[in-house]
Symmetry: C2
Subunit: 121 residues, 2 copies
Amino acid sequence: MKALLLVAHGSRRAASNEEVVALADRVADEVTGSFALVEAAFLELAEPSIEEGIGRCVAQGAREIAVVPYFLAAGTHVVKDIPAIIESARAAHPGVVITVGEHVGASSQMPALIRQCAVAP
Amino acid sequence: MKALLLVAHGSRRAASNEEVVALADRVADEVTGSFALVEAAFLELAEPSIEEGIGRCVAQGAREIAVVPYFLAAGTHVVKDIPAIIESARAAHPGVVITVGEHVGASSQMPALIRQCAVAP
């Protein structure tokens, strides 16, 4: 069973974290057929942590987890912090394949998304 | 003439700001036909500022400017800071129509973009 784990930075502002959880629900509707499960997790300042998010996926039966960093820039969090946490998670869950996708800012679809934001304000 | 102004937060990390400028170039390729001009600007920590970005658009002949906040969450920057700066810019450029689109995190296309990041890591 495949899961998608949306990893955001996390905020002191509860509404920002709730936006991420609501987005994960919209992603779940989008990926029906590809991923049986979508969870949200946070690098810091909010819960669940990335480790906890992976644990939730595994507990629900996931054997493949696609992590998507919900970040715009390829800063330290994307380049070092998240990969290091995922490396530990792989060691903790040896039977589970965990991949890390592009951060959303690097997506080839981002220019089209920005166009849509501009023409439908 | 219509311009699109991509407004990012700005970073102390030059590479992050350069990513935004490179993205604006990719957006320019995407919006040919709809927008004759695409510029990038920054709320803080980098240049050009939003005011300068709007000034650049106007100096190049823009009479309509669509501002797109390159932000994931509807925090204070999106809800208060950017609208306040745009309000001042409207007063400074009375002949120019300036609209503010959704921030990218609120786009209806975001779930599909996240799906793409997950399936093509």
